[in-house]
């Protein structure tokens, strides 16, 4: 099957006072219709920048290279007018902060209607009917009444539902969700994730989920892309990645997730912090924090190598099984 969204060697650089800084380097992945891919990593690893690059919403001082193909069309090369049709029409996005992502000056209904009318010839009354139907579909109670309400009257979870309705209203083929549940209560998080899964199953919309939360990944995604310091560290299906992580960084991330079924005195942490894009270490960028580091790691850039069926990792020591006893 031809992929819906294909990203090849995406690199994003920012022009700063200290010259060009490359925040994302050589990211590649592809997404088939109806699939849900999670991009996981710490703050500053380039996951949000990747999402914005795909939407072509980067700040003017940023430059994206490589190719992003959406149903065969090169997103990075199309004219602005075509890009506006794609945004919202074929590829939509929801953001981390539902409290600030809705315009306080308009009713929620108006904002959904705007999205619908931007991408279809619906009359105002048709658009209104569609918007109310979408509000009902994202399970907002009393949608006719909510339609005329202003965002400040809604809770965070409700607003995120509205954002989802707005993003899905034009039936995009890809939905990018940038930390959609980070700002929400745990109970609401689960509801929003369920909703997203249902909508993607019903409509066939593929989802790119940006998150730092492995719990969210396990709930929603089919495939996972782990990013570290602007590069892909590891990519696999959810089951494979959780069962046999092959990059020391992924292993560290798993150790940092609290579990109920194991008695652990202290949660594992990964020592140190993500290096700055201004001063990436040569060789493997995880080397300064890696517990399995060897001398070659500090000089050689590890290629993404296949370590199993559909499973790639950028570690010269992979597979890591021989460390399993030690760790």
């Amino acid at each position: 099957m031809t992929p819906l969204l294909e990203v090849r060697d995406l690199a994003v650089s920012f022009a700063t006072d200290e010259g060009m800084v490359r925040a994302v380097d050589g990211v590649s992945f592809s997404l088939a219709p109806g699939r849900r891919l999670a991009i996981v990593g710490e703050s500053g690893c380039g996951k949000s920048v990747t999402a914005l690059a795909i939407m072509r919403l980067l700040a003017p001082n940023a430059r994206a290279e490589g190719s992003v193909r959406l149903e065969g069309e090169d997103v990075l090369a199309v004219p602005d007018s075509r890009m506006r049709q794609l945004r919202g029409g074929k590829i939509a996005m929801i953001f981390q902060e539902p409290m600030t992502s809705l315009n306080p000056a308009f009713t929620v209904g108006d904002q959904i209607v705007e999205a619908i009318r931007e991408h279809s010839d619906a009359s105002p009354s048709e658009a209104r009917a569609q918007a109310i139907a979408w509000l009902a579909r994202v399970r907002i109670p009393a949608p006719e009444r909510r339609f005329d309400e202003y965002p400040h009257r809604l809770s965070g979870g409700m607003r995120q539902r509205v954002m989802i309705a707005m993003a899905m209203a034009c039936r995009p083929s890809v939905l990018i969700a940038d930390e959609p549940t980070t700002a929400l209560d745990v109970t609401i998080q689960a509801q929003i994730l369920d909703l997203m899964r249902e909508l993607s199953e019903e409509t066939g919309t593929a989802i790119v989920l940006i998150t730092h939360d492995l719990g969210v990944v396990a709930e929603l995604a089919h495939d996972v892309l782990v990013m570290y310091a602007g590069r892909v560290a590891e990519q696999a299906s959810v089951q494979t990645l959780f069962r046999t992580p092959q990059h020391p960084y992924t292993v560290g991330l798993m150790g940092a997730v609290p579990r109920l079924d194991e008695e652990v005195a202290r949660l594992a942490t990964i020592e140190g912090a993500v290096p700055s894009p201004r001063a990436w270490p040569p060789g493997c960028r995880f080397a300064p924090r890696c517990p399995f580091v060897i001398e070659r790691c500090r000089t050689e850039v590890p290629p993404l190598a296949e370590v199993g069926p559909g499973h790639v990792a950028a570690c010269i020591q992979a597979p890591l099984d021989r460390f399993a006893a030690a760790a």
Partner: protein, 291 residues
């Protein structure tokens, strides 16, 4: 359960504007300011009905008469009724205030939004130009422009409007820069809105409150500026009445006929106070945290 809670609430759409208005209504001094402003607006609009005499009719038998039952505010050096002139003068003052601020906003807000939204060299150019204009004192600039354009009320309004423009450029620029990094602006672009519509539909409504506050306060400044220009003979031309030109004439008779100065002077103070109280109240109503 949540549906029950929703149903129990009154059927009322609570827009942010309406909330601010409700706060404004509870603001006592703002309401006092509003009452003063409304009073003067009514006087100006209904001038032909409420003025007891023709403001330009001279009477050689009633020159510089003190206030009396016949002439409540007295008469001036040509025997004209001061009350009628104050009433008709309100037209010139309010018109000058509103029209010049209208000019300043019509020019300043789009330019300021352009600077704030686009940034880069466009912003640098507009900002340096604005700084240069702001370096000249407001009134001096207005006087110079009015003198250049020639003495007439219309020219005074244009001159005051141009002088007040940089204030609005700067304010609109700052507010736009603050609004354009909001998530909802990015969200608006993510659903495919073109830039101009993001600016007009998503940013503009959110920068209206500070602009409205500034406009109210600037009307007060513009009224003083119009009075100053008229005082200098650059605004309303005789015999049409204006508070500023009335004061100019009155200064020659300060000792013999103080009422000629007191009433137009008092009118300026009152209407400026009214606009300032209203402006302060609007600021509190739009941003309760700023108090």
């Amino acid at each position: 359960m949540s549906t029950l809670a929703v149903a129990a609430q009154p059927e009322r759409i609570d827009s942010p504007t309406r909330r601010s208005l409700r706060r404004l209504m509870r603001h006592r001094t703002a309401m006092l300011g509003l009452a003063i402003v409304v009073l003067f607006v009514m006087i100006a609009v209904l001038a032909p009905l409420v003025a007891p005499y023709d403001p330009t009719r001279t009477s050689w038998t009633a020159i510089r008469r003190a206030p009396s039952a016949l002439h409540w505010f007295g008469t001036d050096e040509n025997g004209r009724d001061v009350l009628s002139r104050v009433i008709w003068g309100a037209r010139a003052s309010l018109l000058a205030g509103v029209v010049s601020v209208g000019i300043a906003m019509a020019a300043g807000v789009p330019i300021g939004m352009l600077a704030g939204f686009r940034g880069g060299w466009i912003d640098a150019l507009i900002s340096r130009f604005t700084d240069a204009m702001l370096a000249c004192p407001f009134l001096i600039l207005a006087i110079a422009l009015a003198a250049f354009l020639g003495p007439a009320l219309e020219n005074a309004m244009i001159a005051i409007g141009i002088s007040a423009t940089p204030i609005f450029i700067r304010l609109a620029r700052g507010a736009t820069m603050a609004a354009k990094v909001e998530d909802y602006v990015e969200a608006a672009r993510a659903i495919g809105n073109p830039r101009w519509r993001v600016a007009v539909r998503h940013i503009l409504p959110n920068i209206v409150p500070p602009l409205l506050v500034q406009a109210t306060l600037t009307i007060a400044t513009a009224i003083i500026a119009e009075a100053s220009l008229s005082f200098l003979g650059l605004g309303q031309q005789p015999p049409a009445p204006s508070w500023g030109s009335m004061l100019n004439t009155a200064q020659r008779f300060m000792e013999q006929a103080p009422w000629m100065a007191i009433f137009p002077g008092l009118s300026i103070v009152l209407v400026v106070l009214g606009f300032n109280l209203l402006g302060d109240g609007l600021r509190d109503a739009f941003d309760p945290r700023s108090r």
